[in-house]
Amino acid sequence: MSDISCPAPAQSLLKRGDRTARRHAAEARFRACGLGAILIGLAALAVLLASVLTSGLGAFRQSYIHLPIHLSEAELDQSGTRDTEVMKKVTTIGYGKVIDKALAEAVAQAGIAIDGLTDDDISGIISREAAAQVRDMVLSNPDLIGETIDLSVLANGRIDGYLKGRVTAESAALDSNVSPAQLQLADAMMERGLLSLDFNAAFLTAPDASDQRPEAAGLGVAILGSAYMMLIVLALALPIGVAASIYLEEFAPKNRLTDLIEVNIANLAAVPSIVFGILGLAIFINFAGLPQSAPVVGGLVLTLMTLPTIIIATRASLKAVPPSIREAALGLGASRMQAVFHHVLPLAAPGILTGTILGLAQALGETAPLLLIGMVAFVREYPAAPPEGLFDPASALPVQIYNWTQRADPAFVERASGAIIVLLAFLLVMNAAAILLRRRFERRW
């Protein structure tokens, strides 16, 4: 710009005194502390994820045995009438024998001969769930009797553990539930394609299973139960929370009473969740007579828990809308309700939705209040479709994790970690949605 040139100084005019050096050092130290704090946090996260992923990813793959099963009439329908009412008399124990026979034949046919392998050893590698699977299939289609069908059935949890590296020949020698001969059989069957490790879609859809069949346990009922509860929380907490915040923020007079309410709402947000469980038990089950273990009660309890979070988030985003918007609307002749619903609320909506989603994510991971209302339970029946299904017993995702960590069979460790991965995935999706909504629709003034 200008032609006037200054002679360049021979050296910087800035003299670094002691104080400057000290300030710079202090700043460097502070930055290092901050970086350290983040690194500690990241390390903790990495350890958590690594431990969950290493022990849990196996749950998404499952060992299946593929074999032809002859459904003999003599064993499964002695009357020969194909009448399901009569055929129901054959229990899963009877079907188990049919499957054991089919497996023994398949092993013999494949020419597998292993020293010290008994018939019990061979039948022991099949899950007890297989009998239930075949029985259900036959009862829903009695014409299958007399035919030979190709089926994939679950392998026993220990064999599954062997394929995933959890069980080894050394541990099997000590284990009373599996023998090294069975592991050799599994190897031989793998070679011949009778046994394989496939994707386990049932983990996400099947119901819980008992201690004797960890390989069959799934999250189906828990995911449904959690979804039903979130539905109730959303349907109740969002309208109530938004209505309460709009009233408090836009219409209520500022006096002692509203101050008191405000303090109480902030206080409620910090109340331990188990307290809401006790409240839910007293009000919804003992007083209102709602059923135990039902998502409706869980949803109501979690609604109470989530309300303060939503109210606080909604009020903050209503406050963030500049007063000039309201004044302009009022100045043009809008009523106060019109000003709120036509102008303030749409501008505050991204913040409200973000708060709601974060509140829902918190509710999704909550276990303690569900403990008291009977949802920490062994539930195998899927709840019906809403609204009736809201009153059927169901489990919930965090509760299922808690249940599985208490089981005796080591295979449930993998299931529990797998369930944690599923829960984390849900939370990640919800939190990402909250961030996206905020990024996309938030307005700054």
Partner: protein
Amino acid sequence: MSRMTPATSALAILAVSATAAAARDQVQVAGSSTVLPYATIVAELFGENTDFPTPVIESGGSSAGLKRFCEGVGENSIDIANASRRIKDSEKAVCAAAGVTEIIEVRIGYDGIVFASDIGSASFAFTPADWYKALAAEVVVDGKLVPNTATKWSDVNPDLPAQEIMAFVPGTKHGTREVFDERVIEQGCEDSGAAAALENLGADAGKLCTSLRTDGRAVEIDGDYTETLARIGSNADGIGVFGLSFYENNTAKLQVATMNDVVPSTETIASGEYPVSRPLYFYVKQAHLGMVPGLKDYAEFFVSDDIAGPGGPLADYGLVPDPELADTQAGLADEALMN
């Protein structure tokens, strides 16, 4: 306005809630965490082999289960309480006060309590007296009551390995603890002559026998056996108290100790040779039998020969079959009440 939709659906939910609370079609069970695995095995088989829905089973401990059982009669109370001990008279009184007067007691079999340590550590052959001497808070030495100072198992019995005393025993809310106190600690107090010595001192032997030391060598586990297993995993000197079925599912990690030179197994427990075992029960509300579909069928299915008898799935899992199962079945068929 679109905002009205969630509000309306909320109202609809509340409206349905008034009507749907009327009928319950599945059996509800709560109680002992020891009985839980057996109950879930039975419930699963019951659900897949009958037309009734699978019962809903909660755990939480014998005392908690019986407390809920005694809350009253009706759709909102549980039908069955699982217990790893008999119902107490005080609990019966609570039940009676709430109108639960007709109770059917069903004994499903026996469960052994075993002592196990890490598979890599030394093996142990205990007697109840060893456990008393190792874990008692105060012992009689030279006619005086002094705090227990034993630090190694070899201090209490020279035949035992010189391993630090570190015992993980069930917390007091567990039914298992009662059996442990009675069959091991009190028995050991008697056997070692400590009970007589305490009597001679004029002390309250009953109370002093069962008070465990609090210097960190007897650790009470309020969680379940998986917590005990994890503690042993991180402390190779630890010896834990487990149920037989839990041990049998984890034989690759645990080695079991003998008691009075008897190895615990379903056979030695059934024959009574292995001293530490207890019966398992469930309690049925008679008033619910006609009200909840499948309740009686579930109870009868539970104690049928195919399920609870020798060779059945429960025995496979570690339950010691009850030799008097036929009497239990007959009592249940007649709906014989507990007196």
